[in-house]
């Protein structure tokens, strides 16, 4: 099975994240770049499927040169090779433009199964997997907390508000995974060393046959008009429990008409 796992480098959520004042895009220099947490679950799931069914795991990322670190992390976990979609013209792409560029790259790479995390910690749109399924014309098996493959048949448990749906489809397909689907492995020392020798192919726009008029900040389908740091919440009252903490909370709730 030819599995492509899409990963994203995001600013570390433990650091202060910012938008750039010039073009209102994510300031990638302001914070350390790390692999998006849910992408680790996606890599793990891809590796488990390969271990169970054979085949190959290719990592695909779109991002600046710096995102190469995230590729190495996924390779160190055990993926076989990688494709890095990197081109200045992609800078500032919104979800629609990103999904277009990624879909073009996926068509080029070829796949039986595309696996990704259900959401990134920076943009948090949660739409990329559905957009890829739409653009690629393959079944959408998203928000999965369990994935089973048998021949060409694939079944997932799709997490819902009420529990889950069992969903069936045929490969090729796009799967997005939620946290708790598995426990991502830590790269071993051997894995880290091996990752340095694994092939990473760089794709520019032309390599993936991406139409430049459909990507980048200026060609996106949406734009940031303006932004500002959220005003800090007004300082509240903090009291020490002197045996009457519960009463004091009740007083506060009553003053706000919650009780």
């Amino acid at each position: 099975m030819n599995i492509v796992v899409c990963v994203k480098q995001v600013p570390d959520t433990a650091t202060e994240r910012k938008l750039r004042s010039d073009d209102k895009t994510l300031d990638r220099d302001a914070a350390d770049g790390v692999i998006n947490e849910l992408c680790e679950y996606a890599v793990e799931e891809a590796l488990r499927l390969k271990e169970a069914h054979g085949g190959e795991v290719t990592v695909l990322t779109m991002g600046p040169d710096k995102a190469g670190d995230t590729i190495r992390k996924a390779l160190a976990m055990g993926a076989d090779k990688a494709v890095h979609l990197v081109d200045d013209a992609l800078h500032g792409s919104d979800a629609l433009a990103t999904s277009y560029a990624m879909a073009q790259a996926l068509k080029k790479v070829g796949f039986d199964l595309v696996v990704l995390g259900s959401e990134s910690t920076d943009a948090r749109t949660g739409v990329l997997a559905a957009m890829l399924a739409e653009r690629l014309g393959v079944p959408q098996l998203t928000f999965a907390n369990k994935v089973e493959v048998a021949g060409d048949a694939i079944t997932v448990q799709r997490v819902t508000d009420y529990g889950y749906d069992r969903v069936e489809a045929s490969l090729p397909a796009v799967v997005s995974v939620v946290e708790k689907i598995n426990e991502p492995r830590y790269p071993s020392f051997k894995g880290i060393m091996a990752a340095k020798k694994k092939p990473v192919q760089k794709f520019g726009l032309a390599d993936a046959e991406i139409d430049a008029s459909q990507v980048g900040l200026a060609n996106s389908w949406s734009e940031v008009a303006d932004f500002e740091a959220a005003p800090p919440r007004a300082a509240g009252t903090v009291v020490k429990d002197e045996g009457d903490g519960g009463v004091k909370v009740a007083d506060f709730l009553a003053s706000k008409k919650f009780v």
Binding site: K18, T121, Q140, R158, D165, R166, E223, V238, L253
Partner: protein, 317 residues
């Protein structure tokens, strides 16, 4: 005035509150048209939508739409957009509705904005990003704006609309039937409100200490008619089911009141609750970052404070 299509969220035939919020928002943008998909439609549902401003109610309740993942609903909306040329399409910022919006955006070549908390003149959408640290205003620049709005972001106002019902017959394409729902598994939830819709949420974290002790969080929640949430530390420890996790990798909630008990308030958690209107924190560590967000905080042992609070609430009812 142009139509504004509002995708209806419903559970067991009941229209969810977020849909009434969207209809309220839609009235400020044009003429709201509710779009009902899937099973459970009834005259009562129509009446509820009309009471909140729906001028039209499009109904597409064929099994084909309900029994396949996301894609048929996007096809239906694309068809309605083509037929009615609306000024905008509003959906709830739930996991599934955002995916419907995503596929619709590609079908009708239009921009989509997610997790919107308000809409200003000129369809300028307000978003709160980076765990509530930055407020953004953004807009769609191509096509018909598709906007996914967070539950609890808009106060509901009931202003009656005509609520004229229009049946929509649609043949779902084979491509949209590629992912088949073969079974729906309902997990026991009890009588509590749904986490993202609840106006009050009571959450427990590491300080709760055990799965058994979550019963006091549940009792406090029940005394306030609240939903129960949990921090990642609590769900990772297996004390409370993962679907109740509030935070960066869990649910985002914006209730009127959020009570954080035994939660330190790491960014992981704050990202999911920072836009709550009023925040109360109970934690024994006076240095816990949650107190920086709290409108009211008690430094103390939740095992003492919470039972007393439950008792006080009961007394004052």
């Amino acid at each position: 005035m142009s139509e504004i299509l509002v995708l209806v969220e419903h559970v067991e035939g009941q229209v969810k509150k977020v849909t009434l919020e969207l209809l309220t928002l839609a009235r400020g943008l044009g003429e709201p048209s509710a779009v009902w998909t899937g099973a459970g439609y009834s005259p009562e549902a129509r009446a509820r939508l009309a009471e909140h401003g729906a001028e039209k109610v499009y109904v597409a309740d064929s099994a084909d739409i309900a029994d396949h993942v996301v894609a048929p609903k996007a096809e239906l909306l694309a068809r309605l957009v083509a037929d009615t040329s609306p000024a905008a399409v509003l959906v709830a910022a739930t996991a599934e509705a955002k995916e419907i919006a995503a596929r619709l955006a590609i079908k009708i070549d239009s921009g989509v904005l997610t997790d919107v908390v308000g809409i200003q003149d000129g369809l300028l959408a307000e978003q709160s990003i980076f765990g509530g640290g930055v407020n953004v205003r953004s807009r769609v620049t191509k096509g018909t704006p598709i906007v996914a709005v967070r539950p609890n972001a808009t106060p509901v106002e009931a202003v009656a609309g005509a609520g004229a019902e229009e049946r929509v017959e649609i043949t779902v394409s084979d491509a949209a039937k590629a992912a088949r729902i073969v079974e729906r598994v309902k997990e026991e939830k009890g009588a509590r409100p749904e986490l993202t819709e609840a106006s009050v949420v009571v959450s427990g974290g590491r300080g709760v200490g055990s799965a058994e002790n979550f019963s006091i969080i549940e009792r406090l929640a029940d005394s306030l008619g609240a939903a129960v949430g949990a921090s990642r530390a609590a769900t990772d420890a297996g004390w409370y089911p993962h679907q109740f996790q509030v935070g960066q990798t869990g649910k985002t909630v914006s209730p009127q009141l959020y009570i954080a008990t035994g939660i330190s308030g790491a960014i992981q958690h704050r990202a999911g609750m920072q836009t709550a209107k009023t925040i109360v924190a109970i934690n024994k560590d006076p240095e816990a970052p949650i107190f920086e967000l709290a409108d009211f905080g008690v430094v103390g042992d939740l095992n003492q404070v919470v039972p007393q609070l439950i008792e006080e609430i009961a007394k004052r009812k």
